[in-house]
């Protein structure tokens, strides 16, 4: 189904996510090629966020959350019996809809949080990694002179980029963005979207969004979810101009959702 013109980094096979006995996402098989941005779109409640949370094993932390099927990261099932979910989350970074800087930590400590938890690093290495992450998140110029002030002093858009920097610092391979601009103003949104373009050179990115224009702007591939099922996936340009399925066209033209 999915195009295969790049080496697969992340893939799901018949992934079904449940809350107790309720199926939230049914039998999804998708490939996320390396160094691409894949957007997941669909109306609210279609299961796109739940699906995303299965990829780094966050779903199982929700009340009653469990899955069937497989999630392959470089051909290794992250749900395999010997895999530590904590290790999975270190390789697959995630950014949420609302900025979540740790309120008790400074800007520097926020970015370093994910590094520190991965083991003791020498101070110089931490400093370098923090700067690199902040530069990648296009925040360095704005905060380099106040790394030790509270992260809460930043604007919403800056906080969100800080969270991206925090996710990038441990150098994950995949970056999951769950409606990352959902709570931002247009300027903040634009910064994040530009960032997606830069970041895909190093990372595989999956972005969940309810904003169709955003999906069209940032992604290489787009998957359309509806009622917990994958309706259609394809190159973004194609999907938006010549959707194969009726539901997709209905959604894209604003007839529901």
């Amino acid at each position: 189904m999915a195009p295969a013109d790049a080496p697969a980094r992340l893939a799901t096979q018949r992934l079904t996510a449940l809350f107790d006995r309720t199926v939230a996402v049914r039998e999804i098989s998708l490939l996320f090629p390396a160094n691409t941005v894949t957007a997941i779109i669909g109306p609210s409640g279609c299961g796109k966020s739940t699906f995303l949370r299965c990829l780094n094993r966050m779903h199982e932390l929700s009340e009653g959350g469990w899955i069937t099927g497989r999630v392959l990261l470089d051909d290794v099932d992250v749900y395999g019996g010997t895999v530590d979910p904590v290790a999975v989350r270190r390789r697959i970074g995630m950014v949420f809809q609302r900025p979540t800087p740790f309120p008790t930590m400074s800007i520097h400590d926020n970015v370093a949080a994910g590094l520190r938890v991965n083991g003791r690093l020498p101070g110089a290495a931490v400093t370098t990694a923090v700067e690199r992450a902040l530069r990648q998140a296009a925040l360095w110029d704005e905060v380099h002179d106040r790394l030790n002030s509270s992260a809460l002093a930043l604007s919403g858009g800056q906080q969100q980029r800080l969270c991206i920097a925090r996710a990038l610092a441990p150098q994950p391979e995949v970056l999951l963005l769950d409606e990352p601009t959902g709570s931002l103003d247009p300027a903040g949104t634009q910064r994040i979207e530009e960032l997606c373009h830069d970041l895909k050179r190093r990372y595989t990115i999956v972005i969940v969004t309810h904003n169709l224009q955003q999906a069209a702007r940032v992604s290489d591939y787009t998957a359309f979810f509806y009622l917990g099922k994958l309706v259609e996936v394809g190159r973004t340009a194609e999907l938006f101009t010549r959707p194969a399925r009726e539901e997709t066209e209905a959604y894209l033209t604003g007839r529901f959702g």
């Binding site: 199982e60 469990w66 530590d84």
Partner: protein, 315 residues
């Protein structure tokens, strides 16, 4: 393929959870151990006096005959007197603060009422001895006797230390507890209840009386019971003003005694095993009564203000 999801991902998580669980489990353990310890120590007395302990009035360390009737009587009378005085005041505070007070007045008044709960029991005792009792003697009791002196409740000579003084001090002490929990309960009443009544043309008071209070009734009753639990177990202030005499009398002007006060006064004097066992039985009774009252109160309050946050504040 179903994936078994491990609850614990590593040793750290397990150690953390086990440690916390162990600490938390200490609380129920404490409750059980306290009850068991008291029961074991009280056993000689329970065995010897049986149910007579509950209503006989002799308390004689010389002949080793003990009956806690006056203590139970005094505890109940002083607490009920306290409720009688405190409930209108506390409900007044709660209703005033949630329904009628101007916004700027709510926080300061709520703070003052909370401060009442912060005053240590022994300070209330000092105030009771040196201010309240002289005031009662000089200004209140003569009036009471003039008007109600014919009734058995206000007969006899007023010596100062009395059931009346104990009840008043207790009332002052439990007002903040009842007020704070009632207030939280009333705050938890949805605004729609109020608006519905007002929309039907009710006056503000009618809205409170016919919509808000009935809705929060169970919680308010719970709040009153929490106050009762406090009053039953309150020790120092009562000990200092109630008179500490093993007597049952109708008059509120006469000295009385409570279970908690007896423990405070006599526990370190108890020389014989039976004396000690009798006091342990008093402690056991007090424990069982307060635990029961508190448990019922919590259930009532929780039912109204879900999540169990109401009334849990450690005032």
């Amino acid at each position: 393929m179903s994936v078994p999801l491990p609850t614990f991902h590593n040793r750290g998580d397990r150690a953390y959870r086990v440690t916390l669980t162990g600490l938390a489990a200490l609380l129920p353990l404490l409750l059980v151990v306290v009850g068991a310890e008291l029961a074991v120590r009280a056993w000689p007395s329970i065995h010897r006096f049986g149910f007579n302990f509950l209503w006989t009035g002799r308390w004689d360390p010389v002949t080793e005959v003990y009956g806690a009737g006056p203590l139970i009587f005094g505890t109940l009378v002083s607490s009920l007197l306290a409720l009688l005085l405190a409930v209108p005041l506390a409900l007044g505070v709660a209703i005033f603060l949630t329904e009628f007070a101007p916004k700027w007045l709510r926080r300061p008044v709520a703070f003052l009422v909370e401060l009442l709960a912060a005053v240590p029991s022994v300070v209330y005792g000092v105030w009771g001895i040196f201010v309240l009792i002289p005031f009662l003697r000089g200004h209140v009791v003569p009036g009471l006797k003039a008007v109600l002196g014919w009734s058995p409740f206000f007969s006899g000579v007023f010596y100062g230390n009395s059931m009346l003084a104990g009840g008043i001090i207790l009332a002052i002490m439990i007002v903040p507890y009842i007020a704070a929990v009632s207030r939280e309960v009333l705050l938890a009443v949805p605004g729609s209840q109020r608006e519905a009544a007002l929309g039907l043309g009710a006056t503000r008071w009618e809205a409170v009386w016919s919509a808000v209070l009935p809705y929060g009734r169970a919680g308010v009753i719970g709040a009153v019971m929490l106050g009762l639990g406090r009053a039953l177990g309150e020790t120092m202030a009562v000990t200092m003003v109630i008179g500490n005499r093993h007597d049952i009398g109708a008059s509120l002007l006469q000295p009385g005694y409570t279970m908690a006060a007896a423990l405070a006064n006599e526990f370190s004097e108890a020389t014989t095993g039976m004396y000690l066992a009798a006091l342990f039985e008093v402690g056991l009774l007090l424990f069982v009564i307060t635990v029961t009252v508190n448990a019922l109160a919590r259930l009532l309050v929780w039912r109204v203000a879900r999540g169990g946050s109401a009334g849990s504040r450690a005032l």
